[in-house]
Symmetry: D2
Subunit: 356 residues, 4 copies
C-alpha cells in the first residue's frame, strides 16, 4: 500500500537523523538551554526578521529568559499553551468552525478553561469582516459580561482545507486585531507547505510582521517531531517557559528539537527544499485531478488536495493507496484528502496519477 | 416605568419574607443540614415521586450524605456544578446553540474544562434525532479520540425561547440518552412556568422519571434566590456536596434556601399558584399580540412572549414600559421579549395591552 | 441548646429584613446594576477612602464598568474569583497552611488551576520575612520555570485562629508585596470583628491603603449573606464583572446585596455596632476563660475564642452548649472554638460563663 | 567538563538510533496505532505479567481501544494525564512533599484542577501509616465536604532522593490503598535504575501487581524520549487515548515511541543492561564517597548519589565536573547530587573518584 493519507507517515529528513547520530553522545544541559537550541532559536529569529544577524548575541540571553522562539513537541500542546498563556479566564479564542483547536484537540483548549468562539466558514477561512462582527457583536451586547469575551484570534495557515490567506487578507485581519488589541496567532503546522505554494504571496517575514505569535511546523515538514513557536510581539513573551513546562511540553533533551530546527533552517535551506518538493508533487496530483475531471472540494495549491469522488472511485483507489476519507456530500460523493509531504516519492505520485 | 424585561425584577413572594422574619433569630446548623432544608428536600423528593411520604425518614440521612435534592443559589452555578460533576475531562455537554450554558454563562462550563457541543436549532429546542446524530457522528469518526466525547445532554425547559418539549419528545430524547448511557439534565430555571403552561402535557413526576437530573428554578419563580437540584438517578449522587462547596454554591446559612423552598412547596402549593398567575398574565399578552396582528417569533405558551416589532413600535412602547430588545430580523424588525412573572400586576398588563 | 459553634447560625440584623420587606415589590434591573447596589458601592468606596463623598458621581458609572466595589454571595466564591482574576496559569497564591483557601474550600482554587503555596505557621499568621523568603527561594531556584511562580499573597484578617495583623506588620507585608509586584489580598470574612477588636490598631482605610484587594464580610457579620469586594488597586479592576458572572457569583436580584450593605454601612453605622456587640460578648468569655484558668490556644481578641479543654470539660459543656471541637493536642486536650456574633445574646453568654 | 548533573544529558542508546534509521522511510499510520507500537505494547504487557505471550493477539485490538500500555513523550505530561484521568473535580492526589508532581511540574496538576495533598517526609518516602492517617483524617473531619477528598496515591520509585520502597513497604501501601479504593500510581521516571539496584527486592511484575498504574521511564533510561504507561487495573483504562490526545501527549509519529520501547524491551534486554550499567557506576561513586568520609544525605543504592560537601569541596570539584547543587544544610554544607546514567563512561567515573 502507498500512503497519501497524511503528512506524518515517514520518519524524518535523513540529514536530521545524521545530525542526531553525530551528536548523540555529547553531553549538554537540558530543557532547551543547550547551545544547539539557542543557536537554532537565533537562526529562526533572524529569518523572521526579528533580529539582525550581528545583533544576535543579546538574544542568546533573552532566549533563556523571556524568549522570542521556543521549541515544543507537537501542535496540540503548542496551541493549548499559547492560548492559555494569552487569555484571561473569561476570554475565548475566535477560530473557524473547522479550526484544529475547535475540532481535533479533544477539548484541550476547553480543558485550559477557554471557549473556542467558532465562526462558521464554508471553506475553513475567516474573513476580517467576520472577525470584526464577532468583536462588535460582543461589545454591543447588553449582557456583555454574561458572554465570553473575544480575547485572541486563531488562524491556520494553510487552513485544514489546504487554503491560504493572501497578503491582503492577512493584513486586513491583522489591522482589525490590532485595532481591538486582540493578539493574532497563526497555527503553522504546515507553514512551509503554505509559503512554498505557487499561490502564496506572503513570506515568513510577512507572517512575523502581521501576527503576534505563530508556529513553524516541524512534525509534518521533515522533522521527527517538533514545532517552533515564534512570539513576535514582546508583550506576550513573559514567563513563557513556565507555561511550556506546565503544559508538559518542555522536552528534557531539548537539544533534539534544537538540532532538528538547526538542520532544517541551516544554510542549505532544507526546510524550504522539503516543502517545495511536497508542493511540486501535490501540483502534479492537482493537475491530474483536474485533467481527469474530478471536482475539487477546495481550491488548494498546497500539499493537501481535496477531490470529490464517488464511493466506487474511492474504493477502486483504495486497493493500492491509502487516502483520507472525509465528509460525504449531499449527492453521495466523498471528500477525499490526498496529502503529499517532504518524503513523497515521485514514482508513487506517478502510480497514483495513473490510477485516478 | 413598568418592567416586563425579565422575571427577576421584584423581591419574593411575601409568604417567604414572612417565614424568614419568623425564624430569623433561631439558631440552626449551617450549610444546608438544618431541619428546614432537610424537610424541604424531603418534600420535593416526595413531589417528584422519588419517595413515598411514609418512607421519608431514610431520606433525611441520605440527604445529608449522598443527596437526592440540593439547594443552590443560582442557575449558572447549578449548571456548572452539575456538568463538572458528571463529565470526565475529555467529555462535553450536548446543548442547543442558544442554550444558556452556551451563551450566557461567560464560559463557566469551559472554565470547568468542558466543551459545549452546540447543536444548531432554529427555535431553541433539540430533537432526539439531532442528539442521536451527534452521538453517532462521534462514534463513527475515524479520529474518535481527537474529538470531544459527548458525555451528557443539556436541555432547558422551557427553552430560552419560551418553548416546551412535549411528553412524547422528552420520552424519545430520554430513550436515546439511556441507549447511549448519556445522562440527561434539564435546566429548569423557569420550570414552574413550563409546568403551568396550558401547552404542557408533562408533570413534575414525568420530568423526574425521564431525566437523570434537573433543577427547579426558584429565583425567577417567587424566591429571593435559589434553585433546587434534583438528582433522580442515584448513580450521580455521589459526593455531590463536595462539588457544591467547591463551586462556591454552598450557602453558609443554608436554611434560607430550605425555608424558601419549604414555603414554595408546602401544602398551599404556592409555587404552583405563583406560576399559574404569571402564565395567566402572559396568555393575556399573547392574545393581545395576536389580536393586534403582531407576529410571534416563537410560539410560546409560557411566561416569555416574543413579538416582532418595528423599531417605531418598540420605541413607542419604551416610553412607559421596559421590554427586552433582542436580535434584529433581516427585515429590520426586533424580536422583543415580554416577560411576566409571579409578581406581575394585572393592571400593568392591562396598561401594556392598551399600549400595544 | 445554645449555639456558640460558629457565626452564621442566625438570620440577619432585623434592620435588613425590614428594608427587604419595604422594597420587596419594587422593580429594579438585575445583576447589581440597580440603584441600591450602586449607592451601596459608592458608600463603601467613600468609607474606604477611595473616593470623596462629593466626587461620587463618576463612581456610579465606573462601578458599572470597571468597578471598585462588587457584591458577591459568599466567601469561597469571592476568594476563587479574585484569585482566578489575578493569576496567570503558572502562578500560585501564597497563603498560610491554615488559610481558608488552603483548607476549607474543597480545592476551589486548584479547580481554577492554581496552586496554593502554603507556608507553615504555628498560629495562622504569616510574617513579611516568610513571604519574602518564599519569593526569593523561587527567584533563585535554578529550575525556576519548573516551579509554580508566586503570583499574589492571601492573608485572612482576622485569621482563622482569631488573630490580627498589627498596622506595623501589615505595612511591612505590604511593602514586600509591592517591592516584588505581588498583589496583596485580604480575606475579610470577619473583617468587622477584627476592626472592632480592642487589639486592633488598623482602620478600614488602612486596610484599603495597604492592600490591592480585600473583602468586607457580610455573611458572618449581620447580613443574610453577601461579601463586599473592594478592589483598591485600579490595575486589577478590569473586566471583573465577567469573572463574577463566570464564577456563578452574580446574583440575579443583585439589589438584595445592595440593600443589605446599604443598611449595614448607612449613617447609623450598623456594621460597626453589630461587630462591637460580638466583640464585647467575646471579651466577656475570654476573661471568664482566663479567670477559670483555661489555657487559650491562640491569644485572640476577636469574636472567636480558642480554649484548651479536657474531653471531660468539653463533654460537660456540650450538654447545654454547642461549641466547635477542633484539633486534639498531644496531651489529649481539645482546642474548642467558642464564637460570638452580632446576634449573640448577653444572657446566653452569662449562662456559658457560669457553666465554664 | 564532565557532567554528572542529571540523567538526560546524552542522546540515546545507539541501538535505538540505528533502529530509527533502518525504518525511517517506512510509511505507517500515526498516533501510536502502527505495528511497532502495538508490538511494543504487547511486549511490555507480557513482561509485566499482564498477559501470557500466547494470548497476545487479543491485546492488539484492546491496545487500540481501551489500552493496557500507552506511550507518552515525557514525565510531566504522563503524571498530569494520569491524575486528570483518575480524579473527580473535588479529589486530590496524596504525594510526598518532595514528590515531582508537587515541586517540579509548575503546577500542572493544579492546572488540571486538582490539589496535591502533600505529606511531609524527611527522606522523600511515604509510609502506609501516613497515607492511612491522611485518609482517616479526611473521613472523620466534621467539615468533610469542605476539604479536598483524597482520590489517589502517587509514589515515585525510586524517589527523587534515590530511595526505594521495599516489597514489604509497597505491599502494605497497596493494601491500604485497596482497602479505601484509592488507586495507587507509581512515577517510574527512573524505574529501571530502581529495579536494577542491589537494594531492590521488587520485580517489574511486583510493581504491576501492587499498583493500579505506573510508568516505565524511557527519557532518563536510554531512550531519546518517551515513557510507557502501564494501566494494570482495567477499571482505569477507559477512554485513555482521549485523555492522552487532550493532554497534547499523543505523538503524531507514534512509532518513534514504539520503536524505542521495542528496542529497549526486546530479547537482548537492553533496558536492563543500560540500567545495570548506570547502577554499577553509581555504586563505584557511592563506595568512593564513603571511603573518603563524605556523609550521604540519603542512603541511595540507585543512580543518584547525594553527598554532603562543604562549599570548598563543591567548588573544587566544579572545575572539572558539573554536579547538581541542591539545598544547603543548617551547618553550611551542600547536598550535592551526582547522577550516573546508561551513558556514563567508566573512565569519567574514575576521574571523578580521583577528584573526590
Amino acid at each position: 500500500m502507498i500512503y497519501f493519507a497524511c503528512d506524518y507517515q515517514e520518519g524524518c529528513a535523513p540529514e536530521i537523523l545524521k545530525r542526531l547520530a553525530q551528536t548523540n553522545m555529547e553531553q549538554t544541559v537540558g530543557y532547551g538551554l543547550d547551545p544547539y537550541s539557542l543557536q537554532a532559536k537565533r537562526q529562526i529569529a533572524v529569518l523572521c526578521g526579528l533580529q539582525r544577524q550581528k545583533d544576535a548575541a543579546p538574544l542568546w540571553r533573552e532566549a533563556e529568559t523571556a524568549g522570542t522562539v521556543h521549541f515544543l513537541v507537537g501542535g496540540t500542546q503548542t496551541n493549548d499553551i499559547v492560548i492559555r498563556a494569552l487569555l484571561r479566564p473569561h476570554q475565548g479564542v475566535i477560530a473557524a468552525q473547522s479550526g484544529h483547536v475547535n475540532v481535533h484537540e479533544t477539548g484541550a483548549i476547553e480543558h485550559s478553561g477557554h471557549k473556542v468562539i467558532a465562526l462558521s466558514s464554508y471553506d475553513g477561512k475567516l474573513t476580517a469582516a467576520q472577525i470584526q462582527n464577532a468583536i462588535l457583536h460582543h461589545l454591543y451586547d447588553p449582557n456583555i459580561e454574561h458572554c465570553v469575551q473575544p480575547g485572541m484570534v486563531y488562524l491556520s495557515f494553510p487552513t485544514e482545507t489546504g487554503l491560504l490567506y493572501t497578503k491582503n487578507e492577512l493584513e486586513t485581519i491583522s489591522t482589525i486585531c490590532r485595532q481591538y488589541s486582540l493578539p493574532l496567532y497563526i497555527d503553522g503546522a504546515r507553514l512551509g507547505y503554505g509559503l512554498s505554494s505557487p499561490a502564496c504571496d506572503l513570506t515568513l517575514q510577512d507572517i512575523a510582521r502581521l501576527t503576534d505569535l505563530f508556529y513553524i511546523g516541524g512534525t509534518k515538514q521533515g522533522a521527527l517531531f517538533g514545532e517552533a513557536l515564534v512570539i513576535t510581539n514582546p508583550l506576550y513573551r513573559r514567563d513563557f517557559r513556565y507555561l511550556i513546562k506546565q503544559g508538559g511540553a518542555m522536552l528534557a533533551k531539548g537539544r533534539l528539537l534544537g538540532l532538528q530546527f538547526l538542520t532544517l533552517f541551516g544554510k542549505n535551506k532544507l526546510y524550504q527544499r522539503l516543502s517545495s518538493h511536497a508542493i511540486g508533487q501535490a501540483m502534479r496530483i492537482r493537475e491530474a485531478l483536474l485533467d481527469k475531471h474530478y471536482e475539487l472540494a477546495y481550491d488548494s495549491y498546497t500539499n493537501q488536495q481535496f477531490a470529490l469522488m464517488t464511493p466506487e472511485q474511492y474504493e477502486a483507489l483504495s486497493k493500492d493507496f491509502v487516502l483520507d476519507e472525509g465528509e460525504h456530500t449531499p449527492d453521495g460523493r466523498l471528500i477525499v484528502r490526498i496529502c503529499t509531504c517532504w518524503a513523497t516519492r515521485e514514482e508513487n505520485v506517478t502510480k497514483l496519477i495513473d490510477a485516478l
